[in-house]
């Protein structure tokens, strides 16, 4: 693997125009990745989902170099019924940026190299991403500007590619009192690739981020998404993850509540069938006083599926008056389904209110009986209960337009 990585790394460097300093930094990331490799079961964070194994058994000869030939953007892919700004990635290459609803001096996208901000992380996939991405884009929302329409980031793969490692990196700066809504929307026509997405958000004072991730299309790629969010005083980050389509996906969200009165929300849904293997891992770090976090994750698990939720709340000793809450629930519909949870609390301050709960089991037979006694058949009763179970999470979404979009995608009824 090392040889392949080094040759592919060289190809990437040769085909891009990085400065010497940038190349040195990238090499540092590469060496770190080579040292640690793909995480496997032995790594506590990957205990429930063995990426190393998944890559080995699904992808032959993973290729890290991507020629990045331009592709046509087919307007048919765009989401209907919602006015939005567009950023389109095809096979890891940015093909279209359309921010027509915004004032161009208030909302910018720049091609800019981020130096070493993530070098101290302990996540080898972030290292891989930082070493191999050939472009960085930084999206900047200027102070006191509210982005008018949501930005949908389309991430497409075409049937042309296979056994490739695709790395996407975006940075977001939300300046004082700004607001941004983004939707991650992936459409995959390819198979057996490893997609590795890293977003880094910086929220300044009073900024509001709404971050929605929709993984809805059936595909056989292996995906990893890592979002790091730094929050300053009184800023808010709302995250929602819809985990449906991919055969193997892990979403990771790391929130650092650095400023007083900042808050973070993570809500997620797994609705799985057919051998799917999904995970959400969150770590919410309460680093200052009066910070708040709320997490709700629900799973519905069909035949041969596996979902895992690892949620950690960390409270530093000076983060008094922290309010942290976390709840995960799962319904197992099949005897071959598996739900794993590791809700973790690590607390060093005493004046806090932190709790977590986790429950898993089958559909309540009494509820089914109740509904059936009112004239619905078994299938309808089951669907109605699951509908209500998941609707609970979708209702947490604060943006009405997007909430309706997601309800439509999932076919949820009110």
């Amino acid at each position: 693997m090392e040889k392949q990585l080094r040759t592919d790394f060289k190809k990437i460097i040769d085909s891009s125009n990085f400065s010497d300093k940038e190349i040195i930094t990238k090499e540092k990331y590469l060496n770190k990745f080579i040292q640690n490799g793909f995480p496997g079961k032995k790594n506590e964070d990957w205990k429930f989902l063995d990426l190393n194994q998944a890559i080995k058994s699904n992808i032959e000869n993973l290729d890290y170099f991507n020629e990045n030939l331009p592709n046509e953007v087919d307007p048919k892919i765009y989401v209907d019924g919602l006015e939005h700004n567009k950023i389109v990635f095809i096979n890891g290459r940015i093909e279209k940026i359309d921010l027509k609803y915004e004032e161009s001096d208030k909302f910018e996208i720049k091609d800019q190299f981020d130096s070493e901000s993530l070098l101290n992380n302990v996540n080898s996939l972030v290292d891989l991403n930082s070493a191999l991405t050939n472009k960085y884009y930084k999206i900047q929302v200027k102070e006191h500007y509210t982005v008018k329409k949501p930005v949908i980031i389309y991430s497409l793969t075409t049937s042309k590619i296979s056994s490739k490692n695709i790395n996407i990196r975006l940075d977001f700066d939300l300046e004082t009192n700004s607001a941004l809504k983004i939707i991650d929307y992936s459409i995959d026509k390819s198979e057996n690739n490893f997609v590795n997405i890293v977003y880094n958000f910086n929220l300044e004072k009073d900024a509001i981020l709404k971050n929605y991730k929709l993984d809805k299309e059936e595909n056989n790629n292996i995906k990893y998404s890592y979002n790091n969010i730094n929050l300053d005083t009184n800023s808010v980050a709302e995250n929602f993850i819809l985990s449906l389509g991919s055969s193997f996906i892990k979403n990771e969200i790391n929130c650092n509540l650095n400023g007083k009165y900042s808050s973070a929300f993570v809500n997620g849904i797994f609705n799985l069938d057919n051998n799917k293997n999904h995970e959400i891992r969150t770590s919410i770090n309460h680093l200052n006083e009066n910070t708040k976090s709320y997490q709700l994750i629900k799973s519905v698990l069909g035949e041969n599926t596996k979902s895992a939720y690892q949620g950690k709340i960390f409270v530093k000793s000076n983060a008094q008056k922290t309010d942290g809450y976390q709840l995960s629930k799962a319904i197992l519909l099949s005897d071959n389904a598996e739900f794993n949870a590791k809700p973790e609390l690590e607390i060093y301050a005493d004046d806090v209110k932190c709790s977590h709960g986790s429950a898993s089991g089958s559909l309540n037979q009494e509820s089914i009986f109740y509904i059936m006694s009112r004239g619905l058949n078994y299938k309808e009763a089951k669907e109605l209960l699951i509908n209500g179970f998941l609707l609970d999470v979708v209702e947490k979404i604060t943006d009405n337009e997007i909430k309706n979009l997601i309800k439509n995608i999932m076919g949820l009824k009110e």
Partner: protein, 478 residues
């Protein structure tokens, strides 16, 4: 007057050491030492082979390092693996032959071994460093066919039972400390309750580490045959020493059809001084196997001592309809650290488990609840309920909760709840308004917080444990 009492209580009152001649195995861990231990205990050949097998495996094992409390590397070659009072070369036949100094030690600990003095009807097996010194109430128990003796004696007198069950729950292929224990275990208690017998009294073991530089590696094996019931309690203390001493015990419980074992621990090893110097490393492996149908194993623990407590009393619910329970209070103060919890492995159908864990940390201490609930594919209609609450006193300490929840059966339910909080000002104010001073108020609130667990203890020990809870937190408020 009260101040003086408090002062006395604050001190670790079991901190004295007994000056007694001992026989020790040569320092270090090697085959010869294992042979020495086996030889001095006149063990049969199969057991020596078993020990050596464990030792060979130990050589390739790595010490685990995933736990929260980190500790300096233990030099396993710098320990004595066997230490016994000299007068024990031949085990005394009765208490009259026992070294008076030993009797005195146990008097001081509040455990009078002389049977006539015992009125509350608890049979005691006392373990001093590496050997069991006395077992009381033997006659009454023998009449009912109950075997309660030291494991060394059981190896001699009931080899067929020991051979059948030793290592059946914690095999020699287990983790590092369990395997270490299998190689060098010295003594411990053995209990066998025959079919249909309800043990008429509480059985109790009292562990005492006395000699310095020794590790204590006791092994306890409890077998409850069909339809029997036994309640067992262990207590532990050690002298105050500046060094850290290792205690790596193995406890195996086997419950056959319809049997029930209740195992309670009041652990009060020396926790080290105020600055965290000295104290016991309590790295214990406790595991119960509900082998038969309708069997039940219940663990209750009150953990107040030790510099580091690292243990997960577990239940393997193999028999259909079996029940596992875990009730725990863990208190850490000053620089103590604890990483404790339980594992409930559901294998049989209709198995149920319940976990109630209460953690209290004060001072500079650090407490972790770590637990596993694993419902396997064939464990239809099983259920688990877990509640773990933590209480923090001050912002120099930590309280952590790390549950692992695995559900592979769609007919089974798992519910888990955890909270972390501090004693509310309102509660304190309410108590103080009614005339309690702040320490008494805290004591009262903490006792209320722990009530669910304290209720599970046998009556005599509940009172003691309640006091211990108060003492352990003395000086941590205000």
């Amino acid at each position: 007057m009260r101040d003086k009492q408090v002062q006395d209580l604050k001190e670790y009152k079991y901190g004295f050491s007994t000056d007694i001649d001992t026989i020790k195995a040569p320092k270090g861990l090697n085959e010869d030492v294992i042979k020495f231990i086996s030889n001095i205990k006149k063990e049969p050949k199969w057991l020596l082979e078993w020990r050596l097998k464990a030792y060979n495996r130990l050589k390739v094992l790595k010490e685990p390092d995933w736990q929260k409390p980190k500790y300096p590397k233990i030099d396993y070659q710098d320990l004595y693996y066997y230490s016994a009072p000299k007068s024990f070369k031949e085990k005394p036949k009765s208490l009259d032959e026992l070294d008076p100094k030993l009797l005195e030690t146990y008097e001081k600990l509040g455990i009078p071994l002389q049977e006539q003095k015992r009125l509350n009807g608890i049979a005691v097996d006392a373990v001093f460093d590496s050997v069991s010194v006395a077992t009381t109430f033997k006659d009454t128990l023998t009449k009912q066919g109950i075997i309660f003796c030291s494991i060394s004696e059981a190896i001699q007198k009931h080899p067929e039972l020991v051979k059948k069950y030793l290592g059946s729950v914690i095999p020699i292929t287990d983790h590092y400390f369990a395997t270490l224990n299998s190689a060098v275990f010295t003594d411990g208690s053995f209990v066998y309750v025959p079919p249909g017998v309800k043990c008429p009294m509480e059985l109790s073991t009292y562990f005492r580490i006395n000699a310095s530089d020794t590790g204590q590696f006791e092994r306890t094996l409890i077998i409850a045959d069909k339809g029997s019931y036994v309640s067992y309690l262990e207590g532990c203390t050690a002298p105050m020493r500046d060094e850290n001493q290792l205690h790596a015990a193995n406890v195996e419980l086997v419950a056959l059809d319809d049997a029930e074992i209740k195992y309670s621990t009041v652990q009060n090893w020396y926790p080290g001084d105020k600055d965290g110097k000295g104290g016991i490393y309590n790295f214990v492996t406790k595991r119960g196997l509900c082998q038969g149908k309708n069997s039940k194993i219940s663990w209750t623990q009150v953990e107040t001592g030790s510099a580091i407590t690292w243990k997960y009393p577990s239940c393997i619910l193999k028999g259909d309809n079996s029940i596992g329970e875990f009730y725990s209070i863990a208190i850490t103060n000053n620089h103590q650290k604890a990483d404790t919890g339980t594992k409930m492995i559901h294998i049989g159908k209709n198995t149920k488990s319940k976990i109630i864990s209460k953690g209290i940390s004060a001072g500079y201490s650090d407490m972790t609840y770590r637990g596993l609930v694993d419902i396997s594919k064939n464990a239809q209609n099983s259920s688990n309920y877990t509640q773990c609450d933590s209480l923090l006193m001050g912002n120099k300490c930590g309280a952590h909760t790390v549950p692992y929840i695995k559900n592979k059966n769609s007919d089974s339910n798992i519910a888990h709840e955890a909270t972390t909080s501090k004693i509310s000002e309102d509660q304190l104010h309410y108590c103080q308004q009614r005339g309690l001073n702040s320490e008494d108020a805290v004591g009262l609130i903490v006792n209320g917080f722990c009530k669910e667990v304290l209720q599970q203890l046998p009556m005599e020990f509940a009172v003691e444990a309640q006091k211990l809870v108060g003492i352990s937190l003395e000086g941590s408020v205000g």
